[in-house]
Amino acid sequence: MIVALKKAVQLFFGLLLIQTSLFLTPLFSDNNPSLQITKLSKQPQWHRLLHFKNGKSEIDDTRFFFADEGKTNPQAELQASIDQLIADKSDDENSTLCRYPSRSHWILEQIPTLKEKIKIPQCKALNQELKELGAKHVTLILASAHINSPASAFGHTFLRIDNNPNTPLLSYAVNYAAQTTEDNGFVYAYQGLFGGYKGRYSIDPYYKKLKEYSDLEQRDVWEYTLDLTQAQIDRMVLHIFEIRHFYADYFFLSENCSYNLLWLIEVAKEQSILIKQFTHKAIPIDTLRAVVSQGLIKKELYRPSKRKEILALSRPIQNNNSALKFAQSDDYNLSQIKNLTKEEKIASLELATALLKIKRSDNKIDKKEYLSKFLKILRERSKLGKKEKESIPKPSSPKEGHLSSKASLSYMSHDVIKARAKISYHDIYDNDDGYISGGYISFFDTSIAYREGKVELEEIDFLDIKSYAIQDAIFKPISWQVAVGAKRIFHRELNSYLTAGAGVTLGRDNLYGSATISPTIYYRDNEEHSISGNIGLFYNPSKHLKLGVTASHEWFEEDREIEEIEPFITYSINQESAINLKYEYKDLDGEQESDVTLSWFWYF
């Protein structure tokens, strides 16, 4: 009886509630609109359109939200968006529908009857832009390393929107970046790490982007055509056209350029799970792999860097002194090459143009001089007909390298067990396949050791970069290294240290040797200084094998020295695991010791 009464009361109130809301918002033919809004606002796609993750939207621009609590309340935001669409009777570019085309489109798709309640504006400018873009294909682009700084190996990703895949120079690049003109490294890093910059999406002609990032031409570029339907591409484009007006705080490690592209892809392909794969860090190649893992890649294309093209150009004349001399000269005296074969002339002239362009972009010659020389060489070249381009071997794909975080467990002779972990990225023991040869970065690398019943912190490297840039016939980059952290020297307490060095690397992509000199400051109770000479030889014959040997001699003040030799071999089983065996010999100011270490590497 009581139960029945309760039910009747509930029903009554329920009906009353429905009636009230119908009265307040008489919008839909649906029997229960507020329930419908509640349901709709829970749809994952609505959350994606708001960049909603972990209870709030990642968009920090308040103008993005119509509801006061829109950042944290998707339901309120949906209701407010609908109200706004109905209330807005304007018919210009700033009307709600033209300015928020992505959510408007979705809302109208979900509630078709709403179309009768709102004034549909023309959105002329928007339509003009959509037409100009003519989006038919979307390509994810990964630009890997910079020529003289392999340490920029984290790379950069952006999207390219193509109308015709055969003419990418007419396509548009969609980029997400922090807005800053800061040139002080410390301020830049601090602001960037802690959200001090505003991140925004932009669209620019692809060729303009190539010019703007002139270094991009010095990078290997990988293009991945996404497997999307026309409807999905349209959805992505509309979303770009909405989100372009608003900013989100930019975080270098997590909410960065690569990560924010994932929102666009996920909005396009609703079933994909991308954003959830990233919590604390999003490294470009990891985001690429995430996209791969969702089966979103249709085609891979490799574009060699300008540097590799230039090396290929020089190949036919590498033993021809006068041809090389001409290409690297200042006055381009054509009599120098008049006795060469046609092939050699072509190679020499094409190489000359490429090097001249680099001189100009490095500001080593002025525009007037550049132009007269440029045209002089091109005129000569135009008389010689066409020549097949030299082939450039495709390196292993970035999507096939080891994953970028690493933990390792080691057993050392003398019954020592070591555990080590780092956030990222690539160190000398890792297989180079899919990464830039000689570009080593370790970020927040921590190691603890268990010996004689005690667990001790062995070492922390906050940052350790070794940029072993290989010199070749044309380019002579300087290798450099920096590291900052804390480690034990001479078996003592932890010393914080800072080291920076420079040197030379010779060889080729899979076999190279480096020599560097690096001064170091140690600090515990007082400061101590050293200078170290280091050499290394690395060989990466396959995706499974890497061998190397490093040796160093470090001189401290007060005539103390450390000598170290360390050969190693790493066998990579797959992208997630590898076995490493190394032998270490140390001479700590006359006291010798040696260790054999067997490690299991786990990449994640």
């Binding site: 100009e132 003419t167 120079l169 440029f374 135009s382 020549k387 970069i465 001064p519 050293s530």
Partner: protein, 146 residues
């Protein structure tokens, strides 16, 4: 030693990156001059995956701001493309091949791109008459060959 390190650190700090804005022009030689980043900037850029710059939304439909060619006015997209890719196009034409040249052939609806490339190559002198040649001149000169 200490001195050396402090010199390294100061140099890194004071070698500031000079921002060269995108160079827009209608002639040859509008290459962007690259930033001379300090080592410190490089280190941070490497570790933080940062890119910076002024964000724009540059979808245009054929208004490059350059003079329009006299004989060939109907193809805004081609005009804009040539204006934006003067150096690369000159290079491709002299080589008789290349992506910028293929793109131009597509934009001009050329029926035989191979012949197009070879005719342009042979007539390089007539297209690039001087270093002051403008993008409008280049298009006019190319059309004149046809």
């Amino acid at each position: 030693m200490k001195k050396l390190l402090s010199i390294v650190a100061t140099t890194a700090l004071i070698t500031t990156a000079s921002f060269a804005g995108p160079n827009t022009g209608c002639g040859l030689g509008n290459q962007v001059i690259s930033n001379q980043d300090s080592v410190l900037m490089q280190v941070f850029a490497a570790t933080t995956n940062g890119t910076s710059g002024n964000q724009t939304f540059g979808i245009t439909s054929g208004t490059s701001g350059c003079a329009k060619p006299a004989k060939f006015v109907s193809n805004d997209k081609a005009n804009e493309f040539v204006a934006g890719n003067m150096d690369t196009l000159a290079l491709d034409i002299s080589n008789g091949q290349g992506e910028a040249l293929t793109t131009l052939a597509t934009l001009l609806n050329v029926s035989n791109p191979e012949t197009f490339a070879s005719v342009l190559q042979t007539n390089f002198d007539k297209i690039y008459t001087s270093s002051n040649v403008s993008s409008a001149d280049v298009i006019d000169n190319i059309v004149a060959l046809g």
